[in-house]
């Protein structure tokens, strides 16, 4: 490789390290790095423990061990065929926009640029191989080293093969049509012949084994015989070149011959790619541009703009009146981030499953298994969605922060802006909870109409509603589940508010960077943010829990009146109101922070 390119790679690597080290001067990055390193060491330590025999690798049956390389070989043959069938005819090398703009016009040969791209790819491949070999599975160091080599060789081979095929396909588009057709037909013929021969020989083996066993049904013993015969016969010989690639994955280096074979294959593949003549420049540039765009959208918690969004450009979540509160415009804008479907369509779409379910249940007599499944889904949603929705519903300030230069001059007070930003994810959370509530309501109504006593109890048992029998199934559904819906919504709002406040406090940690970030510091940041989220949420629920506890204590312990499901709405309000007050407090705090925020280093001109 050209000396300049080597220097570029080394300087890039050094620059990345220096930038990360510089960040450590800030206590919060240092803290995050320490947390990330501790996290990695924890897992690495557990794996290293198994090197000393504390976790011996479980021995597989010998028959299985014998055929595993051939099974692996079959898998590699399949992947190779898929690469030939589906790899793009527009080969896109993994180069950044800067690399493309600097290297392609530079006085470098095509071979040098290709070699640089291949070497660059090695960072990811080596990391992947390292993870597979050392952090997954068990075994002594020698076995792990062999697994590391095998994994690295396999990943590199597949990468090179994919690139080679792609460049070959690109070349076909550039040569005369007749010649391209001939070459294409030759490739298809070879692949078809290989698979036809393999299929035919396997069928023959199966017939022979079954014939020997008197045509009886295939059992485990027959499968063993088929596998042994296939390995020994033509199928085994056909798969041998592939099986040799997978052999070291199972700890078999065949006295070093396999390693030699793999190195030879790598050299041949590498030369194939480097000597290729297909054009890659345009596709690489397009890929780099798409990557950057995807990274930017991902940083804002957004999915790439989909064709469906482009098609539905005429739609809008609701008709935004030209005048009125500015918060509504921000809510409207944020709703479009997820989908441009009108809100009433979305509500109707959410109402369809409960109605369909009700009809199905009434028609089928409400099977017990369906009710239990629905109750499980509902309980899971009620428990998981509210506390965690702040982490995955991000069409709020987190998406907007990248457009800070547009947002910040808007004539709206910080707390009002923040309150408006919470509305869109809150609506989505309400939709998620509401849809599960609708399903359970449908199941309950069907159950009540059909009059199956046992089924009502099945539902109420899941939520511990001991008094349900006394209050009736619909009371349970409306009061019990309805109360959970109210509490769930309040908690969801708190979860979203915490994350929006968190990004104002730690913008760099929650991701406003244009590229996906990696490294110990980032892992540590994510870990700390998650822990902080859970702890803040738990702290926020202390007051409501105390209030409910006091009420129940007075009612049950003091007055001797057992609580009933009918009290659910009252208790739900007792939980929801303090939580909503906390949300209001967070919005005020966040608003004050927004008004004072200095985005210069962490948002506008950040390095990472």
């Amino acid at each position: 490789m050209n000396g300049g390119l080597v220097e570029l790679a080394l300087l890039t690597f050094r620059g990345r390290i220096v930038r990360r080290l510089r960040l450590l001067r800030e206590p919060r990055y240092l803290l995050a790095s320490l947390a990330g390193v501790a996290y990695f060491l924890f897992f690495l330590g557990r794996q290293l423990g198994s090197w000393h025999g504390s976790r011996p690798e479980r021995a597989l049956p010998q028959e299985l061990t014998a055929i595993l390389p051939w099974m692996g070989g079959l898998g590699i043959a399949c992947v190779t065929t898929l690469l030939w069938a589906f790899s793009s005819s527009k080969p896109a090398l993994r180069l950044s926009e800067a690399e493309i703009h600097f290297l392609l016009p530079a006085p470098l040969s095509r071979r040098q640029v290709l070699a640089y791209a291949l070497w660059k790819q090695q960072v990811g491949i080596l990391t992947g191989a390292l993870v597979v070999a050392f952090l997954r599975g068990a075994g002594p160091p020698g076995q792990r080293l062999s697994r590391f080599f095998a994994t690295w060789a396999l990943f590199t081979l597949l990468d090179l093969h994919g690139k080679g095929v792609s460049l070959w396909k690109a070349r076909l588009a550039e040569i005369p049509a007749a010649q391209a057709r001939r070459q294409g037909a030759a490739a298809v013929t070879i692949l078809a012949a290989f698979w036809a021969l393999l299929g035919w020989s396997l069928l023959r083996v199966v017939r022979e084994v079954r014939g020997g066993a008197g045509g009886s049904a295939i059992d485990l013993d027959a499968l063993r015989q088929i596998a042994a015969a296939a390995v020994a016969g033509l199928p085994g010989r056909l798969l041998t070149p592939f099986a040799w690639i997978s052999r070291p994955l199972f700890g078999d280096l065949a006295g070093g011959w396999v390693a030699l074979y793999l190195l030879l294959l790598l050299a041949v593949h590498s030369e194939w790619v480097l000597r290729s003549r297909g054009r890659f420049e345009e596709a690489s540039l397009e890929r780099a541009r798409r990557q950057l765009e995807r990274g930017r959208r991902r940083a804002g918690g957004l999915r790439p703009l989909r064709p469906s969004t482009l098609r539905s450009r005429g739609r809008q979540p609701f008709a935004l009146p030209p005048a009125g509160r500015p918060e509504l415009a921000i809510f409207w804008k944020n709703l479009t981030l997820g989908s441009r479907l009108p809100l009433r369509w979305r509500a109707a779409a959410l109402a369809v499953p409960p109605v369909v379910l009700l009809a199905v249940l009434l028609a089928s007599g409400a099977p017990e298994v369906l009710l239990a499944t629905l109750s499980g889904i509902c309980l899971g949603s009620f428990l998981m969605v509210p506390p965690l929705c702040g982490l995955f519903l991000r069409h709020d300030l987190r998406a907007d922060l990248r457009e800070l230069e547009t947002l910040r001059p808007w004539p709206i007070a910080g707390w009002r802006l923040l309150a408006a930003e919470l509305l869109a994810p809150a609506t989505t959370a309400l939709a998620l909870l509401g849809s599960t509530y609708g399903l359970v309501l449908a199941a309950g109504v069907a159950s009540a109409i059909l009059g199956g006593e046992g089924r009502h109890r099945g539902l109420s048992d899941i939520f511990g509603g001991g008094g349900a029998g006394a209050t009736g199934p619909l009371t349970l559904l409306v009061c019990g589940y309805g109360s959970l819906l109210v509490v769930g919504m309040a908690v969801a709002l708190l979860s979203i508010a915490i994350q929006n406040l968190a990004i104002l406090l730690l913008p760099a940690w929650l991701g406003t960077a244009p590229r996906g970030r990696r490294g110990a510091a980032v892992t540590g940041q994510r870990l700390l943010v998650f822990l902080g989220h859970v702890l803040t949420l738990a702290a926020g629920l202390v007051v409501p829990a105390l209030l409910v506890g006091v009420v129940l204590l007075v009612q049950w312990g003091g007055m001797g009146i057992a609580p009933t499901v009918a009290e659910g709405p009252l208790l739900a309000l007792l939980v929801a109101l303090p939580v909503l007050a906390e949300v209001a407090l967070l919005v005020r705090l966040g608003g004050a922070r927004w008004d004072r925020l200095d985005p210069s280093r962490e948002i506008l001109d950040r390095e990472e």
Partner: protein, 264 residues
């Protein structure tokens, strides 16, 4: 009674990690005036404009828009201001028309739909009203940013490199728009490296370097302060002299920087 300037910056200081990006800069732009803010890269122009737009909080100093102090009354101050950043910052999920709809609502523009149609036509965006930002060229994005900025008829218009990415026709239209805005009483502060443009449309010029004003005034005032450059010296010569060559002590005298330091 003296008129209140639409844009007023007094002793603005903005530091990053203790090093000043803007160091005691003062300037004022009256309604109907176009002032050019020029300076070499890293002079503190963008930081000044970002502070003015309320994006960055100043370390010290005072900023007022149409008489409203940006620190004490930020919402009212921002209502009078429009800012066009150097890079078009658009919302990916909003169409061109959506952008104007949202901005109209946020700034409380009562004739939003009519004004939007007018601006879309003015900036040749009418046939792209349903396009998403991803489907627009950089120049079109820039035009949309400017249309959104003009939507609420601001008292002060602040533009950071507004002509980047525009074709010659669009540049000409943009110049006309800025002159029209000034004619209608808007104070315009424009930062640009296109010195010919600044010379053509700006009544006054402020040259900054290392966060400080090194020269300010009308072109003839500046020429008079630099007699060795000659009476026909253009802004480029003045700029290079002010930022690269030794500046005669006489040249620095009488600049707003001096005025500001003396409390003026």
């Amino acid at each position: 009674m003296p008129l209140v300037p639409a844009i007023e910056i007094q002793n603005l200081v903005k530091t990053y990690d203790g090093s000043p990006a803007v160091d005691g800069l003062s300037l004022a732009v009256a309604g109907g005036e176009i002032v050019g803010l020029v300076g070499p890269n890293g002079a503190g122009k963008t930081t000044t404009l970002r502070c003015l737009a309320g994006i960055l909080p100043p370390t010290s100093g005072r900023i007022a828009i149409a008489g409203h102090d940006l620190a004490a009354d930020p919402v009212e101050a921002r209502r009078q201001l429009a800012f066009v950043p150097d890079e078009p910052r658009l919302f990916e999920s909003l169409t061109v028309a959506d952008h104007l709809k949202v901005v109209a609502r946020i700034y409380g523009v009562l004739d939003g739909p009519e004004r939007s149609r007018e601006l879309l036509a003015q900036f040749d965006l009418a046939d792209r009203a349903n396009a998403f930002p991803a489907e627009l060229s950089r120049g079109m994005k820039q035009k949309l940013m400017i249309a959104a900025a003009l939507l609420h008829r601001p008292a002060a218009l602040v533009l950071d490199e507004p002509l980047t990415g525009l074709d010659p026709g669009a540049i000409r239209r943009m110049k006309r728009t800025l002159l029209e805005q000034a004619a209608s009483g808007t104070a315009v502060l424009v930062s640009s490296h296109l010195l010919a443009l600044v010379q053509e449309i700006c009544g006054r010029v402020v040259i900054v370097q290392r966060g400080r004003t090194v020269l300010a005034g009308t072109l003839s005032e500046i020429r008079a302060a630099l007699p060795d450059l000659g009476a026909d010296a253009d802004l480029e010569e003045i700029f290079l002299r002010a930022t690269e060559g030794p500046l005669a002590p006489a040249a620095a005298a009488g600049t707003p920087r001096e005025d500001a330091e003396s409390g003026g």
